[in-house]
Amino acid sequence: MSKFNVLEHEIVPEHHLVPVEEEYKVLKMLNVTKENLPRISINDPAVKALEEIHGKLEPGRIIKIIRKSPTAGYYEYYRVIVKSVI
C-alpha cells in the first residue's frame, strides 16, 4: 500500500511552506510578531506531509494555509511550527 498523503484529501486545506526570505514580508503584512502567530505542532500530519517535499522542518518556520471560507470565499491563514502545542 502506498503512503497516503493527507494534503490530497478533499477536506484538508492547502498547506504551503513560506520561504525563510519571505517570512519578514508576511509578518509585516499581518503586523504581528512570530510569537503571536497561531501555532501548528511539528507532529501535525500536514507538517509531516510538507516535510516529504521540503525535507526536515525546524520549529519557527511559517506555514501558509489557504482554506475555503463561507464568508470570505478563500481565506489565507498562517501558522508557525512549534515543538508542542499546549
Binding site: T71, A72, Y77
Partner: protein, 887 residues
C-alpha cells in the same frame, strides 16, 4: 498578631496525612470535657469552647494569641481517643493494604523480581503531570497481583481473605479485625512498599489512617449562635464532638475498670459510628446522625459537597447586590426601551450619587425628603436610603434623622438615592443564551408588584407571561451607565448578530391587528379613525375620503402615519408565502406585494414579514436608514396602533373557525377510506411477495415508505379540501396566513384530518408482541393498527387514535428535554472558550496575551449585526432607494 491581611500566592499544593504527633503539636488544648459553657455562660476550661481555640464573643481575649474576635484566626485543639478508630475517608486504602500486605511480616505479597520490575515502572511516572486516573489504573493492576496471592513470598505465612463489611468493619474468615489490630498490621508495612499503595513515604504512614487522636477545629469554624430567646445553640460539628468525647470517656472508663468485653465492643462501635458521621453524615450503610428536631446533622463532608456546599455555593457561586427579581407581565404602552418596576423595588434599589458643588442643594433637598416621599397628589418620588461619609461610614436615613443629616451632608459625601424615572438598569431573563438576554432599559416606576415591558421585547428574552420571572440590576458606576446607554439599550439590539436581521418586532395579536388594518385597504369612519389612532402622537391627519358627506379613512393611510418620511420599499408579504401552491393573490399585486413610497403604504398587506421578529423588513430598513431611535419609535408606534385597533374592532377565535360543510367532511372521509384500502392492498401485495423493492431497500422498508407516502398525501389532500372552505374571513386563517400564530397545517389537522403518527420517522410498531395494542391482531400492518389517525381534532379521536397521538407527542417532549440539556452544556463550553477573545482595532481576533486567533474577524472582517443577512451591502436596494423603479 493579625492574620487579616495576609496575602500570598499559592505555588503548589501538597497532600499529606496528619500524624498523631502533628495533631498534638498543632493543638493548643487537649479537650477532655464534653461541655461547652458553664452556668454563667463562660467557656469551660478544657471544654469544646475552650478559649485556647479562639474567641467568638466580643470582649473576650484568645488564650493562645491574645487576639480579640476579629484578630484571632482560631486555633486547633485535640481529643485523645480511648481506642483507635478507622477514618471513613481511607477505608478503600486500608482495604487495599490489608489485601495486598502480608499479615505477619507486613511486606507486599510480591516476589523480589516482581517488586523490581514494578518499581521501575512506577518510578518512571511523573506524579505531578500524569493523569491521576492512569496512575490509579497502574497501581490497581500491581495491587491485584499481590492481593490474589495467599502465601507470602517473603515469610511464607498465609493471609486469609479480608472482607470489607461496609462501611468500616473488616472481617477475616468471619471474625472482626478490630481497628487496633488493623493499626498494628499497617504499622508493619515498610516505607519502601508504600509506593505500591500510591502513598508518598515522605508524606504519610498507613497507620495514620486509623485515628488515635482527633483534631478539634477552631471555634471560628463552628461558632455557636445565640437565639432571640437568649438560648445558645451550638453548631452541628460541636454537637458531634460532644458525642465523641462522651463515648470516648465511657469507653476509657469501661476498659480501665475491666468491664465485660461485650460492653467495651459496643462502646467502641458507637465511637466508630460517631467519628464516621462526624466526617460524613451520609455514609452508605449507617443511619445519619440526627438533631433532636429530627433534622440530619450537617457535618464536614456535607459542608463541602454538592450544590449547597462550600465550593459550588460560596466559591464558584457569584451573588450581587442592587438587584431584584419578580414576575413579569406585559405593558404595551411602555416603549421597548423602558421597563416598569414596582414601587417597593424602586424604594429598595439605590443609585450612588457623589455630592459636588453643582448638585449639593438638590441632594440636601432629597435627603430631607426621607425614605418614602410622595408628591402632594400621592405620586412616587425618589427618597434617600443611606448617606456614606468620606471615611466610609454608612448612615441609615430614617424619617426622623433626615432633617439633621440633610444639614450635615457636604461635598464629597455619597448619597444612595432610590430609583427614579429615567435611571438605566440591566434587565435579564435566564437562560442567558445570547447577548440580547441582558439589555439596558430606562426605569418607569409603576403601581403593582411585577416588572413590565413592551411585548416586542418578548422575543429576544424568549419570555412569556405564564409565570416567568426576570432579574433587574441597578448600575452603580458612571462609566457602566454610559456604556449601557450606548451599547446595551434595547434599541441598539434590534438587529441580531445571529442572522443580521431584526429580532425585535410585533407578535401575535399585534400582527393580526395590522393585517386587519391594511388588508384590502378597508375604510374606517372618522370615529373609528380617532379611536384607532388615539394612543399615537400624530401631528397631521391623512387625507379623508368623502362618502355621503361623511369622512372616511383608508387603513393603509392610517398605517402610513407611523412610517418615517423618506422610506421606500417593495417586498412580498407573508400572506403570499403562506400557501404552497400558487398564491390566490398572485395576480393581485395590491395585496401580495407591499409597496411603500416616501413613507406612504401604497399597496399590500402589513403582516409578520413586514413587522414581525426574525423577518420584519420594515423594522430592518428603518434601523439601517434612520437609526435605532427611529426604529424604536416605529416599534413603539406599531404596538400602540395595534392596541388601538384591537380595542375598537376586537378579534376572537373559536371552534366555529373550523366548521366546514357536510359534503367536505364526506369528501375527506371518502379519500381517507380510499387510502386505507390502498394501504391494505399494499400489505396484501407485500404478503404475496409481489412488492418490488425500491433500489437499496428491503421489501419491508419499501412497504413502509410506500405507506408513509400514501398517508402523507391524503393528509395534504384533506388539508386542501378543508382550507378551500376556510377563507380570509376566518379568524384562525387570518392568524395563520398573517404569520401571527400557527400554520395552515395546524388548521388542516383541526378541520380535516390529523394523519399518520410517527416515531423516529417511521410508523408506530412497538408496544405488545408484534402489535401496537391488544385491540389489533398480531402482525396487522394496516393503517389503523400502525398509528394512522383518520379523525380531525374537531371531530375527536377514537381511543386507539388518542393513544397513538400521545405516543407521537411524547417523542417531541423527550426530544426537547434531551436537546436542551445537551445544547446547554455545549453552549457553556463554547462561551467559556471564547469569553476572553476580543477584536482589536485592526479587526483581528486575539486572546488576552495577544496571540492571534483570526487575522480578520469572521475571516471577512464584517460585523454580522450590521451586515445585511450576512452580506456586506445590498446594492440592489440602494439603487432602488435612490433611483426608484426606473432603473
Amino acid at each position: 498578631m493579625s492574620f487579616n491581611n495576609v496575602s500570598k500566592r499559592i505555588e503548589k499544593i501538597k497532600f499529606a496525612l496528619l500524624s498523631p504527633e502533628e495533631i498534638r503539636k498543632m493543638s493548643q488544648v487537649r479537650v477532655i470535657t464534653p461541655d461547652t459553657y458553664d452556668d454563667d455562660g463562660y467557656p469551660i476550661e478544657k471544654g469544646l469552647m475552650d478559649l485556647h481555640m479562639g474567641v467568638i464573643e466580643p470582649g473576650l481575649k484568645c488564650a493562645t494569641c491574645g487576639g480579640r474576635v476579629d484578630e484571632c484566626p482560631g486555633h486547633f485543639g485535640h481529643i485523645e481517643l480511648a481506642m483507635p478508630v478507622v477514618h471513613i475517608g481511607f477505608v478503600k486504602e486500608i482495604k487495599n493494604m490489608l489485601d495486598s500486605a502480608c499479615k505477619s511480616c507486613g511486606r507486599i505479597k510480591l516476589t523480589d523480581e516482581e517488586i523490581e520490575t514494578y518499581k521501575k515502572q512506577l518510578s518512571a511516572i511523573n506524579y505531578e503531570t500524569e493523569d491521576p486516573e492512569i496512575i490509579d489504573l497502574t497501581l490497581k493492576k500491581i495491587l491485584d497481583v499481590a492481593a490474589q496471592r495467599v502465601k507470602c513470598p517473603h515469610c511464607g505465612a498465609d493471609s486469609p481473605k479480608v472482607i470489607l463489611d461496609k462501611p468500616t468493619t473488616f472481617r477475616e474468615g468471619g471474625i472482626k479485625i478490630t481497628p487496633k489490630e488493623i493499626r498494628e498490621r499497617l504499622e508493619k508495612i515498610p516505607d519502601d512498599d508504600l509506593i505500591f499503595y500510591g502513598l508518598n513515604k515522605d508524606a504519610a504512614r498507613p497507620e495514620w489512617m486509623v485515628l488515635t487522636v482527633l483534631p478539634v477545629p477552631p471555634i471560628d469554624v463552628r461558632p455557636s449562635i445565640t437565639l432571640e430567646t437568649g438560648e445558645r445553640s451550638e453548631d452541628d460539628l460541636t454537637h458531634k464532638l460532644v458525642d465523641i468525647i462522651r463515648i470516648s470517656q465511657r469507653l476509657r472508663e469501661s476498659r480501665d475498670n475491666g468491664s465485660p468485653q461485650l460492653i467495651i465492643e459496643d462502646l467502641w462501635d458507637l465511637l466508630q459510628y460517631h467519628i464516621t458521621t462526624y466526617f460524613d453524615n451520609q455514609t452508605a450503610g449507617i443511619p445519619p446522625a440526627r438533631h433532636r428536631s429530627g433534622r440530619a446533622l450537617k457535618t464536614l463532608v456535607q459542608r463541602l459537597k454538592g450544590k449547597e456546599g462550600r465550593f459550588r455555593a460560596n466559591l464558584s457561586g457569584k451573588r450581587v447586590n442592587f438587584s431584584s427579581r419578580t414576575v413579569i407581565s406585559p405593558e404595551p404602552f411602555l416603549s421597548i426601551n423602558e421597563v416598569g418596576i414596582p414601587e417597593i423595588a424602586a424604594r429598595e434599589l439605590t443609585v450612588p450619587v457623589i455630592i459636588n458643588s453643582f448638585n449639593i442643594d438638590k441632594m440636601k433637598e432629597w435627603i430631607k425628603r426621607g425614605t418614602s416621599p410622595r408628591t402632594p397628589d400621592g405620586k412616587y418620588i425618589a427618597g434617600v436610603n443611606y448617606l456614606i461619609r468620606p471615611d466610609g461610614r454608612r448612615i441609615k436615613i430614617t424619617d426622623q434623622n433626615a432633617e439633621i443629616n440633610s444639614e450635615r451632608a457636604d461635598i464629597g459625601w455619597t448619597v444612595e438615592r432610590q430609583m427614579t424615572e429615567g435611571d438605566i438598569v440591566l434587565f435579564n431573563r435566564q437562560p442567558s443564551l445570547h447577548r440580547m438576554s441582558m439589555m439596558a432599559h430606562t426605569v418607569r416606576v409603576l403601581p403593582g408588584m411585577t416588572f413590565r415591558f413592551n411585548l416586542a421585547v418578548c422575543t429576544p428574552y424568549n419570555a412569556d407571561f405564564d409565570g416567568d420571572e426576570m432579574n433587574l440590576h441597578v448600575i452603580q458606576s458612571e462609566e457602566a451607565r454610559a456604556e449601557a446607554r450606548i451599547i446595551m439599550k434595547v434599541q441598539e439590539q434590534i438587529l441580531s448578530p445571529r442572522f443580521g436581521g431584526p429580532i425585535i418586532g410585533a407578535i401575535h395579536d399585534h400582527i393580526t391587528a395590522l393585517f386587519l388594518l391594511t388588508h384590502n385597504n378597508p375604510l374606517f369612519s372618522e370615529e373609528e379613525f380617532i379611536h384607532i389612532t388615539s394612543y399615537l402622537n400624530i401631528d397631521k391627519m391623512p387625507d379623508p375620503v368623502i362618502k355621503d358627506g361623511k369622512k372616511y379613512y383608508h387603513g393603509r393611510d392610517i398605517f402610513s402615519l407611523i412610517l418615517p418620511e423618506g422610506i421606500n420599499m417593495k417586498f412580498k408579504s407573508h400572506l403570499c408565502a403562506g400557501s404552497k401552491d400558487k398564491c390566490e393573490y398572485e395576480n393581485d399585486p395590491e395585496d401580495t406585494y407591499v409597496v411603500i413610497t416616501n413613507g406612504k403604504l401604497i399597496h399590500g398587506t402589513i403582516d409578520d414579514e413586514a413587522v414581525g421578529p426574525f423577518s420584519g423588513v420594515i423594522v430592518d430598513r428603518i434601523f439601517r436608514k434612520f437609526g435605532p431611535d427611529a426604529a424604536a419609535k416605529f416599534v413603539d408606534n406599531v404596538t400602540r396602533l395595534a392596541v388601538g385597533f384591537l380595542s375598537f374592532n376586537g378579534f376572537s377565535t373559536g371552534i366555529k373557525d373550523y366548521d366546514i360543510p357536510a359534503d367536505a367532511i364526506a369528501r375527506i372521509e371518502e379519500i381517507s377510506n380510499e387510502t386505507i384500502e390502498k394501504i391494505d392492498k399494499l400489505v396484501e401485495a407485500f404478503r404475496a411477495g409481489q412488492l418490488q423493492p425500491m433500489p437499496g431497500r428491503s421489501i419491508e422498508d419499501t412497504l413502509e415508505v410506500e405507506i408513509l407516502g400514501e398517508t402523507g398525501s391524503v393528509r395534504d389532500e384533506s388539508g386542501k379540501i378543508a382550507s378551500s372552505y376556510l377563507g380570509l374571513n376566518d379568524p384562525s386563517v387570518i392568524m395563520a396566513r398573517s404569520g401571527a400564530r400557527a400554520k395552515m397545517l395546524n388548521i388542516a389537522e383541526v378541520a380535516g384530518m390529523v394523519g399518520q403518527q410517527s416515531v423516529r420517522g417511521g410508523r408506530l410498531n412497538r408496544g405488545y408482541a408484534n402489535r401496537t395494542l391488544p385491540h389489533f391482531k398480531e402482525n396487522d400492518l394496516g393503517a389503523y393498527a400502525r398509528g394512522f389517525i383518520k379523525s380531525s381534532y374537531r371531530a375527536g379521536l377514537s381511543p386507539t387514535e388518542y393513544f397513538f397521538h400521545s405516543i407521537g407527542g411524547r417523542e417531541g417532549l423527550v426530544d426537547i428535554a434531551v436537546r436542551t440539556s445537551r445544547s446547554g452544556y455545549m453552549q457553556r463550553r463554547l462561551i467559556n472558550a471564547f469569553e476572553d477573545l476580543k477584536v482589536d482595532p485592526e479587526r483581528r481576533v486575539e486572546d488576552t496575551v495577544g496571540s492571534i486567533v483570526q487575522f480578520k474577524y469572521g475571516e471577512d472582517g464584517i460585523d454580522p449585526t450590521r451586515s445585511d443577512e450576512g452580506k456586506t451591502i445590498d446594492i440592489d436596494y440602494i439603487a432602488y432607494d435612490e433611483l426608484g423603479d426606473e432603473q
